[in-house]
C-alpha cells in the first residue's frame, strides 16, 4: 500500500480524535472573536423586526414556540436565549409555548434562568402557555382567541388573571411568532398562522433544515431565519452589542464559534485529503 492509498484509508478513530482536538482546544483557550460580527441578512431581519415592535405603542407580544427537544439543544438554545434576551431588553410581552411536549420543560428552564438574570417577573413580563395536543387545532385556534386554546398557563393560573396577557387576545396582538424547531414544525406556523391570519412568522432551525426554508424566505413568508448555532451566535452579538455592551453575560453560541470554525476546517481538510487520495489511486488503477 503506497502513501496515497494509506491516505485514503485513515482509521476513522484518528479522524474522530483530530476532530475532538479541534473542538476542545479552541474552547479551552477561549479564542476571542473579532469585536464586530457581521450578521447574515436573514438574521438581521428578525432583529430589525423586533426592534420595530413598539413597547409603548399598540401592545404587541412575541410568541415563541419551543418546538425542539434536548437532541437539538446545542443549535437551538443559543437562538432561543438570544431572542428572549432581546424581548426582555425591549420590555415586549413574551408568550412561550411548545408543540412537541418536551419543549415545555426546555422553555421553562431557559425562561426561569434568563428572567432571574434580567429581573423579569413571571405573569407580568412573560408567561409560559405550555403545551396542548393537535398542533393544527392549536395554531388555528390561537388566531381566534388565545385564551380559548390556553385557558390557563402551564401552572394552571387562568390567563385572564395574568397582567402580561392584558390586551392580548389573538394574532392581531402578536408582533412576531418565532418557531424554534429541529424538525418541520415551521411549516405548520406558515400554513396555519401566517397564511390565514397574516401574522409575521420567523423561524430558528438546525443547519440541516436551512435549504428547505429558503423558498419561504424568498416568498417573504418568513420575516427571517436563524440557521443553526452560527445564527444563534450572530443574534447573541447583535443583542449584546446594542443592549448589554458592558454586562458580563454567558453567550453560548458565541463561545462555540471558534470551535465550529476549527472543526469545519478539519473536515474540509479531510475531504480534500480523501479526494486527492481517490484521484491518485484511481489513476494508478
Amino acid at each position: 500500500m503506497n502513501f496515497w492509498e494509506k491516505l485514503g484509508k485513515i482509521d476513522r478513530r484518528i479522524i474522530y480524535m483530530v476532530l475532538a482536538v479541534a473542538v476542545i482546544v479552541p474552547l479551552i483557550l477561549t479564542v476571542k472573536l473579532p469585536s464586530k460580527v457581521r450578521a447574515m441578512p436573514r438574521t438581521k431581519n428578525i432583529f430589525d423586526h423586533i426592534e420595530n415592535i413598539d413597547p409603548n405603542g399598540e401592545r404587541k407580544a412575541i410568541l415563541l414556540s419551543v418546538d425542539f427537544d434536548p437532541q437539538t439543544e446545542p443549535e437551538l438554545k443559543p437562538q432561543l436565549e438570544a431572542i428572549i434576551r432581546h424581548a426582555f431588553a425591549r420590555n415586549i410581552p413574551l408568550m412561550v409555548m411548545a408543540i412537541p411536549i418536551q419543549g415545555t420543560d426546555i422553555g421553562l428552564e431557559v425562561l426561569t434562568r434568563l428572567a432571574e438574570e434580567h429581573n423579569k417577573e413571571y405573569g407580568i413580563d412573560y408567561v409560559l402557555l405550555g403545551w396542548k395536543p393537535s398542533p393544527v387545532a392549536v395554531i388555528l385556534g390561537m388566531g381566534n382567541f388565545i385564551n380559548q386554546v390556553f385557558p390557563t398557563d402551564y401552572f394552571g393560573t387562568p390567563l385572564s388573571e395574568l397582567p402580561v396577557m392584558k390586551g392580548i387576545r389573538n394574532y392581531d396582538n402578536v408582533g412576531l411568532v418565532m418557531d424554534f424547531t429541529g424538525s418541520s414544525y415551521y411549516m405548520a406556523w406558515v400554513i396555519y398562522a401566517h397564511t390565514p391570519y397574516d401574522v409575521p412568522v420567523a423561524t430558528g432551525v438546525t443547519s440541516v433544515s436551512v435549504a428547505d426554508i429558503y423558498p419561504f424566505l424568498g416568498s417573504k413568508q418568513f420575516v427571517g431565519m436563524l440557521a443553526g448555532m452560527k445564527a444563534g451566535a450572530e443574534y447573541e452579538r447583535l443583542v449584546k452589542d446594542k443592549y448589554y455592551p458592558d454586562k458580563d453575560i454567558f453567550l453560548r453560541g458565541t463561545q462555540a464559534m471558534p470551535a465550529l470554525s476549527a472543526s469545519l476546517l478539519v473536515i474540509i481538510l479531510f475531504v480534500i485529503i480523501g479526494n486527492i487520495s481517490y484521484f491518485a489511486t484511481r489513476r494508478k488503477k
Binding site: 474552547l27 400554513i191 397564511t195 454567558f250
Partner: protein, 240 residues
Amino acid sequence: MKKWVPTIIFLALALLSILALIFLPAFLPQLAKNRWVWIAAYLTLAIFSILYRDNPIYRVAEHLFVGIALGYGLALTWWLALWQIALQPLFVEGRLILIIPIAIGLLYFTRLIPKASWLIRIPISITLGFFSGVAIPLIFQATIFEHTKASLVLPQMFQPGNPWPGIWAIVLLIGILTTLAYFFFSRKEKSVLNPVSKVGIVFIMLGFGATFGLTVMSRVSLLIGRVQFLLREWLGIIAQ
C-alpha cells in the same frame, strides 16, 4: 478487545469518579457538585464510546435513553393532555360534554378487538375529514401559489445600479425549470428536454452539496454542545 474490558473500564471510571468527587474539589473548586451533572457527563462519555466500537457501556446508555425518553413523554402526556384536558374537566369539573370526544377517541382501541375493529373508521374518518378540509386549501396557498409567485421575474427587480435581484431571479427560474425538466421522465430519447435536464442535474447537485455541508455543520454543532457541557457544567474549566 475482550468482552469484559469495557465493564472493567466502566468500573474503573466509577471508582475514579468517586475518588475525584472526594479529592478533586480541593484542586478544581469549579468542578460540578451536582451529582446529576456527573451522571449526565458519564452518560455522554458512554454514548461517545461508540466512536471506538460497539460496547456494553454504550448499550447501557442507549437503553437508558430510550426508556427514559419514553417514560418522560408518557408522564408528560398523562399530566398535560389526558389529565388536564380530558379527565380533570370531566370528573372534577363535571363537563359531561367531553364524554363524546373521549368516547370517539377510545374507539381507536377497538383495533385490538377483531369483531369491533371496524369502529376504528369513525375516529379516523373524523380526523381525516377535519384535517383534509383545513389543510388542503391552506397548503396550496402557502406552498404552491406563494412559491410560484416568488419565482416570477418582474421588471422592477432590475433597478438601475442594482441589477442583482433580477439576475438572481433569472438564475432561480432557470433552476426551477431545468430541475422540473429532469424529473419529466416520459420524454423521448432525443428530446430537446435532455440537454435541459443536464443543466437541472447541476442545480440538483448544488442543492445536495449545500445540504450535505449544512448537515455536517449541524452534527458538529451538536458535538460542540456536548463538549461545552463537559468542559463548562461538569469540569468548570471554561467560562461560566
